[in-house]
């Protein structure tokens, strides 16, 4: 039974997409809370470079992407220490340079047959069984980390200095969060493509903000809106033969508009 479901690429895409939404919810909340939207975008843009890298050093694509994201995050930390450029300028430089370098590098590899549109905007057909393992393995890792580190992560998000004084290991938690972003980018790439990952992170979280009264409620609702976006988007993609990623984002955005219109004022 399960085997026959997994034989169908649409079901594989849906199951994979729900797995991604499961972690995009909580991480999306952190992106919104910590104002990391552009930072997430920068990491996601570097994913293409990671794909190229994984062919060069012969590792699975997901591993290449995770390594590149972490490398970029490290570069960002080092660059931002000099404080000669504003963070948004720096992020803009790194995001687009990483994307451009990735595209150029891939063009040097004619032997590697890549569906570029699929990489940039997501591809229903690309979801394989091994991808599902990656998604659910990644999701389990992230959810465990979040559960373990929840109070510290929340506290250092609310007030970093207060957290520090209270003995929260702020720096290490920041690293853990970056690692989780790298993982989610590596696995979400399949569903929405590298250009739209940030949208899948922030739109459900922003939608949830209207209705939530506690941080945990916001996370749960962000997951729910993520599920709706993925299900609706894939159905749209299936029916109208539209690209998967944009369809998911359009569905998420529709939810956001709907909740903004009827949700009334922010309550807490």
């Amino acid at each position: 039974m399960i085997d026959s479901i997994l034989d169908d690429f649409f079901w594989r895409a849906l199951i994979g997409g729900l797995g991604v939404a499961l972690v995009a919810g909580p991480l999306g909340c952190f992106v919104v809370w910590r104002r990391l939207a552009y930072f997430g975008d920068t990491l996601a843009h570097s994913a293409l470079l990671g794909i190229a890298l994984s062919f060069v050093i012969q590792v699975p694509i997901n591993v290449g992407v995770i390594i590149t994201c972490l490398g970029l995050a490290l570069a960002l930390v080092l660059f931002s220490r000099s404080k000669t450029l504003a963070t948004d300028t720096l992020l803009g430089i790194l995001a687009h340079s990483a994307l451009a370098i990735g595209l150029v590098t891939l063009s040097f590899m004619p032997s590697v047959r890549m569906d570029l549109t699929g990489l940039l905007f997501g591809d229903l057909l690309a979801m394989s069984r091994s991808d599902l393992w990656w998604i659910y393995g990644g999701a389990a890792t992230i959810l465990c980390l979040l559960a373990l580190l929840w109070r510290g992560l929340l506290m250092s998000t609310i007030h970093e200095e207060l957290a520090r004084v209270e003995g929260v290991p702020v720096e290490r938690l920041r690293l853990a969060l970056i690692l989780m972003f790298a993982i989610v980018i590596a696995v979400a790439m399949k569903i929405v493509g590298v250009l739209l990952i940030t949208a899948l992170l922030i739109i459900p979280a922003a939608t949830a903000r209207r209705l939530a009264r506690t941080p945990e409620q916001m996370v749960a609702m962000a997951m729910l809106f993520g599920f709706i976006a993925v299900t609706g988007g894939l159905a749209l993609s299936w029916e109208l033969d539209t690209p998967a990623g944009p369809s998911v984002v359009v569905t998420a955005f529709s939810c956001f508009l709907l909740i903004s219109a009827v949700g009334g004022k922010q309550r807490a």
Binding site: I158, E161, R164, V165, A268
Partner: protein, 260 residues
């Protein structure tokens, strides 16, 4: 001799090649209320961040009593409004139990707000919430960075009064930064005037006559403080009380009003 909670010895902090704190030595004892005053950019916040361990000292040494619990009240509570958070939850994130959190909120007079969103609090309520949060941890040392910012003048006096009461109840040491010179003089044991280095320090009534203080703050401020002290003693003499410092501190509202 009271036990020493924190001892700073020739602490200097350099940020981006600029000397922010210059060889500051001070010790905080249990029961002390020390107030740091000084002009903008004098390194006050940097100095207390060094005590808190948030900022590393470039040179010099800081020794804290082993196992010392520090309660920190930051300058302002600038919270990201995208994060839904109630007062109760914010307190619980300190890791203290429910009962302790409730008592701390009650002690600082904001118990009625426990279900409210932290984003809907006024400036004064936020400061009291932060104080409650510091209090819930049963601190041995209370560190406050301009606790009365954004609070009206009567509220300020009440807040400083509360800090003094908490010092008595917890038998802790207190070090704080303040701009409100008049209130500081009334509610503190020892004043440190900082301008990168410690330009003068001592009891409030002595410090306003100190040439270094007058040089830093100008004659106008020094004179107004001198007047203030005269008024203060006078007022308490009228009441028939001994014009001791602790009596003066008990009724800072009136004096604050006088100079408003």
């Amino acid at each position: 001799m009271n036990e020493v909670l924190a001892e700073l010895s020739k602490v200097s902090v350099t940020l981006n090649d600029r000397l922010i704190v210059d060889r500051v030595s001070l010790s905080i004892k249990r029961g002390d209320i020390i107030t740091i005053i000084g002009p903008n950019g004098a390194g006050k916040t940097t100095l207390i961040k060094t005590i808190l361990g948030i900022q590393k000292a470039t040179s010099g040494s800081i020794s804290l009593q082993p196992g010392l619990v520090i309660g920190y009240v930051p300058q302002t509570l600038n919270l990201e409004t995208t994060l839904p958070l109630s007062v109760e939850r914010f307190m619980a994130l300190s890791g203290c139990d429910r009962k302790g959190c409730k008592q701390a909120l009650a002690r600082t007079g904001v118990a009625h707000l426990s279900a409210a969103s932290v984003h809907h609090l006024s400036g004064g309520e936020k400061q009291r919430l932060l104080l409650a949060r510091a209090l819930a941890r049963q601190p041995g040392l209370l560190v406050l960075d301009e606790p009365a910012q954004g609070v009206d003048i009567n509220g300020q006096a009440a807040l400083y009064d509360l800090v003094r009461q908490l010092r008595d109840e917890l038998n802790c040491g207190v070090i704080m930064i303040s701009h409100d010179l008049h209130l500081v003089m009334a509610a503190t044991d020892k004043v440190i005037c900082l301008n990168q280095h410690v330009c003068c320090s001592g009891f409030p009534e002595d410090i306003s006559h100190d040439p270094a203080f007058i040089e830093t703050f100008g004659t106008a401020v020094a004179e107004s403080l001198a007047v203030y002290h005269h008024h203060h003693n006078h007022r308490h003499d009228l009441h028939g009380n001994v014009s001791s410092l602790s009596e003066a501190k008990a009724a800072p509202t009136g004096s604050g009003h006088h100079h408003d």
